[in-house]
Amino acid sequence: MQRKVFQLLVDNQAGVLSRISGLFSRRGYNIESITAGTTSNPKYTRITIVANGDEAILDQIEKQVGKLIDVRKVWELEPESSVYRELILIKIRATDTQRQAIVSVTDIFRAKIIDVDIDSMIIELTGNQSKIDAFINLLKGYEILEIARTGIAGLTRGSENITILE
């Protein structure tokens, strides 16, 4: 099993996301995360998909997605030449005695505490996959009440931008 991050530039119109997610579900491809948002040009939407599978499946994903008529461009965001970020919100049980220890872990990871309640707090962390995994791992000693993850957003390094579509 491998993991790949694909980036898609698609026409910003109704039904595109359902065509893409429908393709994944009917062909049985595994999506780890999918994020979508408009680009600097409101005509287009950028979609970032993290998918799992063997080499052949990942190759098929790229080709089949590329066949969709609304998809302007699809390519792999290779780790060396791209940056990825994900945002995560963690709600954690934090009693008086635990609070200070959690705050110091939070500081080390440059995460932010964005809400504190009598016996819980919510921490916000932005980072790449390994940073987020390491952070969650460190918090395992505490009682994690909720996790919300946004999925990966990513960009290719360098000055290339949306104007390649024009």
Partner: protein
């Protein structure tokens, strides 16, 4: 001009000659506008068959087939036909009526989210939101359906859009789809690699698929195979690419194919797959094919390459274009010994076990029938045992063999044959079906009579859903469940009810005379042939 008039104009611009459809309120503005254009309108008896007729029409005319249905159940009835066309890459434009735009999503009478429902069976779909978009959308739809890997496109048109005024009608001469640019020309480096591989090969084989028909490249394939002296096998969808009696043709591959065709594939040292998707019924173990052979895969759809088997030499492009390019090279493959071996295998193919004498032998019957058919006859096989026997024993000359390959949709043969008739008024057309598949579309006898689109129909009557019965015999020790077709009508009386001449063949004794008579009368005609209920495919 209203939206509906604009649609009719678009069909004229696309030189559509005939549409197959079924009206309902939500598509009535369109049918009203059709009164003022010179395009034939065929009323089917159920919407599924409108799509099948459009499919038969498209496959014979080489043009896009058009079918039309109303909103809700009309649209959902089309789905099986659309899926059937999608599986075999048949170009269709399917037009559906839809409820008022403002009421979309509120579950009003006869509302169905058809663009959502057909999502996985179409190349693309449109929900028209502005009547002024109609010309652009139709231009795009016909373009998408008929280029690259062909397939169905659906256009859903709410009734208020059909009734909305359209400003100036302007039909675009070109489409502007920047992301949709199918590769036509094969890459010259890859072509040279293929030529080199052919020169090196001692035991080459071409496996010809349905893509060759879709690219209208049968002639180019024959020329290429003969020029290089490479033997050819075909898939189910590729049948008819070569005449069955061509000295370089070695039958159909697959689990229902000829064993000598499969041996040819297994023992080759160079396999050239052309317009075939290496599907499970043709190549059951794609990995094995790769073991001893250099695999070349030529297809217009890059996603097919590497989907089921990873080729050594991929070549993307339109097959006709690629074959024309390849013909320019001087290649000669001196593989006479290999062809001798294949002929030896062919001679040693075991004969099929004949059924009991009191019944018609389907293999002999089909062979006899095809000998008597015109050179360019169109033979449409349904799905089931009749289909397997047909692909095993029908000898294609310069005609066509049509069937539902990818989806295996029962009831395909009669509507597809009627659609083919609309495309080829003067050719001999025979639909072959079982007593099961016949009853799935026998209502279309009325369509055939009403619209003077007569075809010849042969029913293989064994009183069972034969292929499933055979499967239950082998898998469930002959515990038959829901395969007995008792209760079927008297097909003779049914023919009389539709005013169609009827023939019945009990056994092989007078087969030749009955077939002669059946073929000699002017269409339409229906023949019932009695098959041993326990007869099996092989």
């Amino acid at each position: 001009m209203l939206g509906a008039d604009a649609i009719a104009r678009c069909l004229l611009e696309e030189q559509v000659k005939v549409i197959f459809g079924y009206p309902g309120v939500a598509i009535c503005p369109f049918f009203n506008s059709m009164l003022s254009v010179d395009i034939d309108r065929v009323l089917v008896r159920t919407e599924q068959n409108a799509a099948h007729m459009a499919s038969g029409y498209a496959r014979i005319s080489g043009k896009v087939g058009v079918c039309v249905a109303t909103s809700g159940p009309g649209a959902t009835n089309l789905i099986t036909g659309i899926a059937t066309a999608y599986a075999d890459s048949i170009p269709l434009v399917c037009i559906t009526g839809q409820v008022n735009s403002e009421q979309l999503g509120s579950d009003v009478f006869q509302e169905a989210d058809i663009t959502g429902a057909v999502e996985s069976f179409v190349k693309y779909s449109y929900l028209v939101k502005d009547a002024d978009d109609i010309p652009r959308i139709f231009k795009e739809a016909f373009h998408i359906a008929s280029t690259g890997r062909k397939g169905p496109v659906l256009i859903d048109v709410p009734i208020d859009i059909q009734n909305a005024p359209v400003g100036k009608f302007y039909y675009p001469s070109e489409v502007n789809l920047r992301t949709y640019k199918p590769t036509v020309k094969g890459h010259v480096v890859q072509i040279k690699k293929v030529i080199k591989a052919i020169e090196k090969a001692k035991r080459p084989i071409i496996c010809a698929g349905g893509g060759i028909h879709l690219s209208n490249a049968a002639k180019e394939l024959r020329d290429f195979a003969h020029k290089c002296g490479i033997p050819v096998v075909s898939t189910l969808m590729g049948l008819g690419v070569m005449p069955t009696d061509d000295p370089l043709y070695f039958g159909m591959v697959g689990n229902n194919g000829k064993s000598y065709a499969n041996r040819a594939m297994n023992e080759s040292d160079l396999t050239i797959m052309i317009g075939a998707r290496v599907a499970d019924r043709a190549i059951s173990q794609p990995d094995l094919v790769m073991d001893n052979t250099v695999l070349v895969h030529i297809d217009v759809d890059p996603a097919e390459i590497g989907k089921n088997v990873g080729p050594h030499i991929p070549l993307v492009g339109d097959i006709k274009n690629i074959l024309e390019d390849m013909e320019k090279y001087e290649t000669d493959c001196s593989c006479g010994e290999w062809i001798d071996t294949l002929n030896e295998y062919k001679r040693n193919e075991p004969e099929r076990k004949a059924p009991r004498k009191e019944y018609v032998d389907p293999a002999k019957f089909i062979a006899m029938l095809s000998d008597k058919l015109d050179d360019d006859a169109i033979y449409v096989a349904d799905v089931g045992q009749n289909q397997m026997w047909s692909c095993g024993y029908h000898k294609v000359k310069n005609g066509r063999f049509l069937t539902s390959g990818g989806m295996g949709t029962m009831g395909y043969s009669i509507p597809a044959a009627i659609g083919a008739r609309a495309a080829a008024p003067d050719r001999q057309i025979v639909a072959v079906c079982g007593d099961g598949s016949f009853q799935m579309s026998m209502m279309e006898l009325a369509t055939m009579q009403q619209h003077k689109l007569p075809v010849k129909i042969i029913i293989f009557h064994n009183g069972y859903l034969g292929l499933v019965r055979e499967y239950q015999y082998n898998t469930y020790k002959a515990h038959y469940s829901v395969v007995d077709l008792s209760g079927s009508p008297d097909f003779g009386k049914l023919s009389a009810a539709y005013d169609v001449p009827f023939f019945r063949l009990e056994n092989m004794d007078n087969a030749s005379e009955v077939i002669d008579e059946f073929l000699s009368i002017k269409d339409p005609a229906l023949m019932e042939i009695m098959i041993d209920p326990l007869d099996v495919v092989k």
